[in-house]
Symmetry: C2
Subunit: 430 residues, 2 copies
């Protein structure tokens, strides 16, 4: 029996919206948004989409009209009553009322600001300008829309059973990964794959498979909507945009040098426990830790998001020891370019020496490598970053020169200020 | 939107029936049934289920009550108006009104006769007694019920996502086979997998995948219900039960020697063209062809269903040549234990020398090998055969001693009468 009403209702959709909720975003965006709204609400920023995989001709694959429709749809969204209730009533990291009434009232009426879209050659220039707490909420939906429109463009050429088999292959591959991960004693792993997912439905499938396949080793998802829908933990802390924007606002080299610590000082006041996670690599991990104030050594852990992850963790362990901390009490979260091999390797090397945890991203939610001709569904490296604040360019160095961002002269200045020397280049997988 | 009515309706089913239609059976059963009804309607036969894979303890896996419910449900079925219309109105092998009015009137009111079920150790004894045209229609539904109940018993222990991944794996495996077969120029292949299928829905999926993946190389299915549902050709000719029963009825050695030819003489009168396919192996291919009347050499082709298939085809080619026929005008249908490797090999060897065609059975519709613990879903060798006629045991020799059936003394007699000497044993895969 076909449900006629459902079918007719579905035909009434003008488009099939990719992002259908303002909380179809990473939890840390909301945490950071609240912090920005409290501390720097008037900061004017520009965010920009950057396709680091230039061989993928996004503007040839994706129709501009469809892209605009999807982005316009995102702008039409506002927080629903149920989403607001979930954010207000939920316990995050063991804490109730993580989000203040002030933030929630602002968020309940917020709509995303306009976007600027232009085709330049085979790529799109997509930028967002305005106040930081609003503009920053574009990052995840913009990425998700671009990623999924690209998937749809490739899928549109396939037959019904070819499609069934495509997803069969993806499911089989994911389950084989889960079966391997299941063997790791004491594993703790979360889904961090929203931004570069194959599609929303596929991410949701991956999360459900992890729930069944990994049991308590699966600790949650960064995606608030999926966390709400599947009744699991929303996971996340803070990201590079905080030090990047604060650094861009610095008037002197000394202010610049202190900017990353000032960000974490604000965070220190607002959060405790598992939310006190250092992201040390924005301007080089070595220098950041060497010059860090002592109170940072008391934080719960560190997230390793660029460079050689083993080296990053060893650096953190040595640093904690040098500050009189016991690394076995500390949490190390690996979140860069993970897949099963690397997870096994890192867990084997660091379990017992520190508390290990993994934020598994693109190769969880978008591993369609090798499934179609010309590898047309392989994930690629798309980012959406703060590129300027109050008209000044932002800079990111990270522990991998291939991930560096910003004008060359500014990169040079930042390297000097933060004492960053030669860095080993790592291939950016996704 | 859940369709509440559908859900409530589904809850009203007392059981989930495995066989839901009298034409969920092989096309050749109906052809043979019509022939039997015309030529030998009063023959009393016994059919019996035989599990050749005794390490599979069917009676431990399958609940007797559930088995009875399913068999009782099959007995409750009668031909629907739409099924009757399809059989009456369809063109089979280019011929309209393949089924006579007399047969259709009989079939429209026919219900399957009672069954006898008894547990003996870890196996079931399941037998059917009565008039040949009725009893013979039990073969395929009985096998399909047992096969699918065994699948269900294993599937019942699995989680939701484990199940999704199981089918994902099966789909991926099938599609990889199809992708290989697609490369074979001039391939002609049909689904012969009803009797030992994993389940009805899975067979239906396999057929749809073949339709999309192989296009015109996929020439149809032996399953009438799926042929009707998917609007494709129903495929099939005749089987061992005709010579087996006729041989059992023979009163003298000479009558026995002639029995296989008398069966085909009846067939010769009833059918022409692509339905004139010799199944020569019931009592040894070599002897059968050597002593065959000349009119048989004029038939359209031969089906190779036991023994070494290459050798069988070479024997047929040599025979046709010896009778002055051009093998290039003849059809060779391979239907025994096929999978991709063997199909490729046989096609490469015989394409151009004869017209080649494949009836792909169990490893099309039930290749779940290696997917679960203890290989609990691997197909196994279950058959349902005529074991006696008018109280006399039937005998089958075939070209593989591992497929021989009947009392030892009778097998010895048949070997003498048909001049069958040493045979090379072949492992029975499925």
């Amino acid at each position: 029996m076909v449900d006629i009403a459902t079918r007719v209702y579905n035909h009434n959709w003008k488009i099939d919206p990719i992002v259908r909720s303002l909380i179809d975003t990473d939890f840390y965006k909301l945490l950071m948004c609240q912090s920005i709204l409290r501390n720097r609400p008037d900061t004017q920023v520009t965010f920009s989409l950057i396709n680091r995989t230039t061989r993928i001709p996004l503007a040839r694959l994706i129709d501009e009209g469809e892209l605009r429709e999807q982005l316009d749809h995102v702008r039409s969204l506002s927080l629903t009553r149920g989403e607001s209730t979930w954010l207000r009533g939920n316990t995050f990291y063991g804490k109730r009322q993580m989000f203040s009434s002030g933030f929630m009232e602002w968020f309940e009426t917020m709509k995303l600001p306009p976007y600027h879209l232009e085709r330049v050659g085979d790529q799109y220039e997509l930028t967002f300008e305005g106040s930081w707490p609003e503009v920053m909420l574009w990052e995840i939906p913009a990425l998700a829309v671009l990623m999924e429109l690209r998937s749809r463009a490739v899928l549109a050429t396939m037959g019904k059973f070819e499609l069934k088999v495509l997803y069969a292959r993806a499911m089989t591959r994911l389950w084989e990964k889960i079966e391997r991960l299941r063997k790791i004693d004491g594993l703790r792993i979360a889904d961090f794959g929203t931004r570069r997912r194959h599609s929303f439905l596929w991410q949701d499938w991956c999360v459900q498979a992890m729930i069944e396949g990994l049991g308590s080793s699966f600790i949650g998802t960064s995606n608030c909507r999926i966390a709400m829908r599947r009744d699991i933990e929303a996971i996340g802390t803070n990201a590079h945009e905080l030090p990047m924007v604060m650094a861009a606002l610095a008037d002197t080299d000394e202010e610049l040098r202190q900017a990353p610590y000032r960000v974490l000082a604000d965070w220190h006041e607002e959060h405790e426990g598992n939310l006190r996670i250092i992201l040390p690599d924005t301007y080089g991990t070595e220098g950041f830790l060497a010059h860090a104030p002592d109170w940072l050594a008391g934080w719960t852990g560190i997230r390793i998001d660029s460079g050689d992850p083993s080296q990053g963790a060893e650096t953190a362990i040595a640093w904690w020891k040098s500050r009189g901390e016991d690394p076995r009490d500390k949490l190390v979260i690996f979140s860069d370019g993970l897949d099963t091999d690397k997870i096994e390797e890192l867990h084997a090397r660091f379990a017992g020496r520190v508390k290990v945890s993994f934020g598994w991203g693109t190769l969880l939610t978008n591993d369609f490598r090798g499934f179609v001709a010309d590898d047309g569904l392989a994930p690629f490296s798309l980012v959406c970053k703060a590129v300027s604040a109050h008209g000044r360019p932002t800079v990111k160095l990270s522990d991998n020169p291939n991930k560096a961002m910003g004008p060359a002269a500014e990169i040079k200045r930042y390297k000097r200020v933060f004492g960053v020397g030669e860095q080993a280049a790592q291939a950016v997988i996704v």
